[in-house]
């Protein structure tokens, strides 16, 4: 057992190092080694998820830069296809999760969050960017979304989430709203003001928050 943990720790350490130095070859080698020891699902849960969590957390405390975060997600998704067979379903059951940027044209936050979640085995519906409150409301109702992730960069966009919440309440949509992006990192109370359910300070919080919602909803 102890040996197993040590082994996973070593893979994680190698993986984090490879990703932070933007070394795709080394990251690929590490995952190939891990694949010899683990099933595909375990590679994701035991190596990829904890590595990405460390990197996301590193950004929050100024030890890792955003460009490293972005490249880490990108590399993971690129090599994942080679390591894990296409028809392999990582998560048998999952909530219906969507992501969007609301009244905002900044897509990097969304791209990064989606990339991390995808590498962690989640399927995410992407509604794109610059959506209005009206159109996002319609999408959520139509697709019966359980969890909506919103990434914004501009303060007015963050403030418009309150109107979205109001519309969704009127339509009795049981959707959990998770928000993130720069304005929320500068004001801890903003997510409550706009009546979101959760706020993530860094990309890897998205994974933790979804885990928490899954537990909460018994998935």
């Amino acid at each position: 057992m102890e040996n197993q943990v040590d082994k996973a720790d070593k893979y994680i350490k190698d993986m984090v190092q490879a990703l932070l130095s933007v070394d795709k070859m080394k990251a690929k080698e590490t995952l190939a080694q891990a694949r010899e020891a683990y099933q595909p699902v375990e590679v994701v849960e035991k190596v990829i998820v904890p590595s990405l969590e460390q990197i996301g957390e590193g950004w929050r405390i100024d030890k890792v830069s955003l460009s490293q975060v972005y490249m880490s997600g990108k590399i993971c998704n690129e090599i994942l296809q080679d390591i894990i067979p296409r028809d392999c379903i990582i998560r048998e059951r999952q909530l219906t999760i969507a992501i969007a940027t609301l009244e905002d044209f900044h897509t990097l936050g969304k791209q990064i969050v989606k990339g991390f979640l995808h590498a962690a085995g989640y399927e995410i519906v992407d509604y794109g960017n610059g959506l209005s409150v009206d159109s996002l409301t319609e999408h959520i109702i139509k697709d019966k979304i359980d969890v909506l992730l919103i990434s914004v960069l501009m303060l007015p966009s963050a403030l418009s989430i309150k109107e979205l919440r109001k519309r969704l309440k009127e339509r009795q949509a049981a959707v959990t709203i998770v928000v993130g992006g720069a304005p929320f990192n500068f004001d801890d109370k903003l997510y409550k003001e706009v009546e979101a359910d959760y706020m993530g300070k860094t990309v890897s919080d998205a994974i933790n928050i979804i885990h928490a919602i899954e537990t909460d909803r018994g998935v």
Partner: protein, 349 residues
């Protein structure tokens, strides 16, 4: 007690690392002038006369020590033929990037400032501002750094890939952007600006790590700033910079705009006597500060960075959000007047 100084004297004294009559204050307004004139943000920016009048009015209303002569970051994208998207309750944003493929960079030619209607309009506004305030109040211009501009030129994700994976094209783009940036900054000095803000948040450690900064943004800033003909203040637009502060000082900039995510005292200690610190009130949170909170926060910043000059109290981004109410802004000014009088005797108690 020193005699009352003009804003210009106050700023020059603090930039010389001496104590003026009181802590200088830069509240960087871009949109509040529109409110003042009862115009929409789009209408406001459509005429240089509006902007000059609005900016000078808000400067006087809030007792500011500078007139902000800058429109908005995407104005530079407009100059390159790109799209700007306006909204009623916030700053305009750049639209679809105009560099679609990496190879597009090879054929890129920087615009000539004097041929760009949007830029000549902004220069005209600066000229009018200077006419209104003369030499008493500094007019501050702004450029987006050559290293930060590509986020709007080509999109952020693609730009990060360019930096890591297409080094030659990256260098090529930097040379083109440097030429444009120098031309645009110098035109603002010609229009009457006293200093120009060099907005370089991509160099912040929030966005790139120190090693990468030293290989990229740092060299670009050294080259660019040496060709700009007046004083510059490097601004990280609320991105972090503590771990690169020594390198920032080496670029030859006169001041540095720092984030609320930093320890202002540590920054001031590192910069003391070398470059002026500009910061670091949280503009996003500011919307809902009470009078008491405002006073406490202003006092805290002054306590951490005021002594010895070399400090300008400002918001941490270089733009006060449209949603920040007048009461808070007036309370900031009141607190500076009450607690910012040099020699800051209350700090010795």
């Amino acid at each position: 007690m020193s005699l009352r100084m003009t804003p210009m004297q106050r700023i020059l004294t603090t930039l010389g690392h001496e104590e003026p009559d009181r802590v200088p204050m830069f509240l960087v307004f871009t949109m509040h002038g529109a409110k003042e004139l009862g115009l929409s943000i789009k209408e406001y920016f459509s005429k240089p006369e509006n902007v000059a009048e609005g900016q000078v009015r808000v400067c006087r209303k809030f007792g500011n020590d500078c007139v902000n002569g800058y429109y908005y970051a995407p104005i530079e994208i407009e100059a390159w033929g790109g799209e700007v998207i306006f909204r009623d309750d916030g700053p305009p944003n750049s639209g679809m990037p105009f560099i679609k493929d990496f190879e597009d960079i090879r054929g890129l030619v920087p615009p000539d400032v004097k041929d760009c209607k949007c830029l000549t309009k902004a220069l005209e506004a600066q000229r009018l501002m200077k006419e209104k305030v003369g030499d008493d109040i500094p007019v501050i211009g702004t450029v987006v750094s050559p290293f930060s501009l590509p986020v709007m030129q080509m999109g952020f994700g693609k730009y990060i890939e360019l930096i890591y994976e297409h080094k030659e094209l990256f260098e090529h783009l930097m040379r083109i952007n440097e030429d444009f940036c120098v031309q645009w900054a110098n035109a603002q000095f010609d229009a009457g600006c006293t200093a120009v803000g060099y907005f370089d948040p991509v160099s912040s450690t929030t966005i790139v790590d120190k090693d990468l900064y030293l290989r990229t943004g740092h060299n670009i800033a050294r080259r660019t700033l040496s060709r700009i003909k007046g004083p510059t203040a490097t601004h990280f637009a609320a991105g972090r910079c503590y771990s690169i502060i020594e390198d920032v000082i080496q670029t030859g900039t006169a001041a540095v705009g720092v984030s609320v995510l930093e320890d202002l005292q540590m920054i001031k200690n590192a910069c003391k006597g070398r470059i002026t610190v500009l910061g670091n009130l949280n503009g996003i949170e500011m919307r809902r500060w009470s009078q008491e909170e405002t006073t406490a926060i202003v006092k805290d910043a002054i306590a951490k960075a005021g002594k010895g000059g070399g400090f300008i109290l400002s918001d941490n981004h270089g733009e006060i959000p449209f949603q920040v109410p007048d009461d808070v802004l007036l309370a900031i000014g009141d607190a500076v007047n009450e607690w910012g009088r040099y020699p800051l005797k209350w700090l010795d108690k």
